[in-house]
């Protein structure tokens, strides 16, 4: 049943012996030991498992690894860390935009994808871009201000 699948994640090619049917999320979390993408529903309803697939924000909880092999994947870890934070991460930290933070992965991934396409999104466009992400702590308004701040920093 196991097969060799090559996944291109965060700029590296990973050759994995896995069940090719396995959703990408499990490979990212367990085989590659990444924490950014999270299981929330497994049903494309919550956005906790978001990754960038060829630069677009996509949930990873239902896509089989076999299909994911055709794409370039970037996770939260690949967006920025330590002293080289992405402007969205920086703004999230500065605005203290998190409570439990479980949804942050989806928020940051979607925000990054948005800002790549639209340097000056309106409030409505930000909301639209984050529509697939659920947050139960109710941190929404801080997320929106953080993304606006990141957009401004990018532009400036």
């Amino acid at each position: 049943m196991e097969k060799t699948v090559v996944l291109n994640v965060n700029g590296k090619a990973w050759s994995l012996n896995i069940d090719p049917e396995m959703p990408l999320l499990y490979a990212l979390r367990n085989n590659l030991q990444l924490n950014g993408p999270k299981y929330g529903c497994g049903l494309h309803q919550c956005g906790n498992c978001m990754v960038l697939m060829d630069g677009k924000a996509q949930p990873s909880c239902m896509m089989p690894c076999a299909a994911a092999a055709a794409h370039t994947i970037t996770t939260l870890e690949g967006i920025g860390s330590g002293s080289s934070l992405h402007p969205v991460q920086k703004a999230i930290i500065e605005e203290q935009a998190a409570q439990c933070g479980y949804c942050l992965n989806g928020v940051i991934i979607c925000a990054k994808a948005l800002l790549e396409e639209n340097k000056h999104p309106s409030d409505a466009e930000i909301r639209e871009a984050l529509q697939r992400v659920l947050c139960r702590c109710g941190t929404h308004t801080r997320f929106i201000s953080a993304i606006k701040k990141a957009a401004a920093a990018n532009a400036g």
């Binding site: 959703p23 924490n35 203290q96 479980y102 942050l104 109710g138």
Partner: protein, 732 residues
Amino acid sequence: MPAHHSNQPANQGRRNFLKNTGQLLIGFSLTQAPFAVHAEGMPFATPRVEEDSINAWIRIDAEGNVTVLTGKTELGQGIKTALMQMAAEELDVNMKRIRIIIADTGQTSDERYTAGSASIEGSGRAIRMAAAEARKRLLDMAAGKLNAPVSGLTVKDGIITATATGQSISYGALLNGKSIEGEVTGKAPLKDPSTYTLVGTAYPREDIVAMATGQPVYVQDLRMPGMLHARILRPPVYGATLTALPENKLTGLAGIIKLVRNGSFVGIVAQEEYQAVKALRVLQQSATWNKPPLQPMLPELFNKMAAQTDNGEIVEKNDSVDPAIAAAAVQHEAVYKRPYQMHGSMGPSCAMAQWKDDQLMVWSHTQGVYPLRSTLADLLSIPESKIRVMAVPGAGCYGHNGADDVGADAALLAMAVPGKPVRVQWMREDEHTWEPYGSAMLLRLKGGLDAQGNLLALKTELWSDTHIARPGGRAGHFIAGRDLEKPFTFSPGRFSGGSYRNAVPLYNTPRQVILYNYKGPLRTSALRSLGAYANIFALESFIDELAHKAGKDPAAFRMQYLNDDRAKAVIQLLIDKTNWKERISKKGAGLGIAFAQYKNEAAYFAIVAEVQVDKTARQYRLVKLTGAIEAGQAINIDGIKNQTAGGMIQSASWTMLESVRYNATGIQSRNWDTYPILRFNAVPDTEVFVINRPELPPLGAGEAAQGPVAAAIANAIFHATGTRLRELPLKL
């Protein structure tokens, strides 16, 4: 030398424990410590920490770094930062020197549950007193070394300086690796709040950096060498029993280590996570169950509730209420309904457990490590001294969700595969269908006004299932406990205070409150604010109705019956900030106000909701929520704002959308499609104003918003449409 010496053997042992683990304590990071525990062989028994000893709360190492210990857990509320601020302030050290260890039966005091917005009042107070005591002792020691009176010493970042000579010595050097032992006498001077430099500021939470960059933060992120993955086959409905489990269906599936069955409790342990998920699907399709039907259905439920009037519990008695209402010029009565609602944590419950060398280690996002431990002892019939429960943050919990249950699941499976760490995570469907919900509630309010529109009396009758079914040592409170071959029985606690939380109006008028305890069909327990959500929704809607009948401004009407100046101040602040007077006088604008003091003893909170109504489409949009909160001394202003805005949005979601649907075959709200919550496009703008009163004790703030928000939205809809909505969620 002051009392940091003690020669009893027990303490000696404990000092060794501290010494051995010193590195780990100081270097505690969310990621390493939970892994390191078993490997390092740390003790499983409760540390011999007397709660009144300083080092139950504060430890200082030779480098002058401070470790704070709390029995409370981090649930996303930012408690770690607030408690660290309190310790740093009292000790006069920089925040950079402070670390914190959260609830762990191997290290911290038993502080029961992290619940009821009481962490700052409880743990915060203990930590502040211990820090003050430590500071006093250190100053006494320094006075000797520096040859100066204590009054001639100043402290800056843990360096004590004698003003006269300029000589100084650090906390670390004074202690030189020894721990500060001795009691918290309560007599050490506390700092004057006017001199605070840290408490009351918006000190940033550092854990957000880890969250934003994908570092391991959550129990879901725990990984250990040799770790196995598991899933639980839950019954299709409460009380179902397993009639057949064709194990042969698993033949040929890869990675299956063990199928664990005990009565109707079934768990599948596999090498890899997805293998466990696949096996679970096979079992779900092949298992057969004996399924008792669920009943009564909504809305029959509310009729059944109302029919139960034989066991009323008098919460607040006043014999003048009935006659006063009967004689009133204007009499009014209204009935309000709240359905079952969910915690709906983003991260499904998860735990890891390991049974090794006759000892059980459990990592859990529980709200109470000690109660979980005693309940596990009951479940497994092993002594508590062999169990250690360590709290690791999960996603936001908002009350008693599946955290304890999954801890029990993990423990049962770990016992079946000795030596191996077992990680169990619930599927989304498990979380949605098995978490204990916030109870459905029914409220009937009656009131009377005189001919001039003055309030004469208020009467409340309320019906509710329990809001408190946490495991407190009895294994019947675990789902798994009830499914075992020899099942444990569930007996809800008799404390019904959660049901009538905030049911007694704060308004100065004769009032009477009666509670009917009703056993409904669904599993219920504490959901953020417990009964206060529905009680305040009903009361603050009803007050609005009375104000309307009296022809008075609803804000002014409330102010008229409040005696407490702090209560009036939050309302007044909102009146000023929202341009209330002018806007409320406009018909059809869609503005509503509500107020409550949480538990009638914690934070004061008032809220103005603004809605836009599309009458033809029978839809409304919540445009903005503006809140004002006063929680005494604010420890972290930004933390209070964040928690309050979050509570406002969560309550708006409950209020506008949420209701657990079920039928005879079980819960139908099995995921986010069938139990929708607010998404970004419907979330209102929020604004929060904090009144800080540094001279007063801090009050719990985390749940203050839940009730008033619901009423404010209903009141705003009434203002816009003239239609009074009394059933949650509010649908036009």
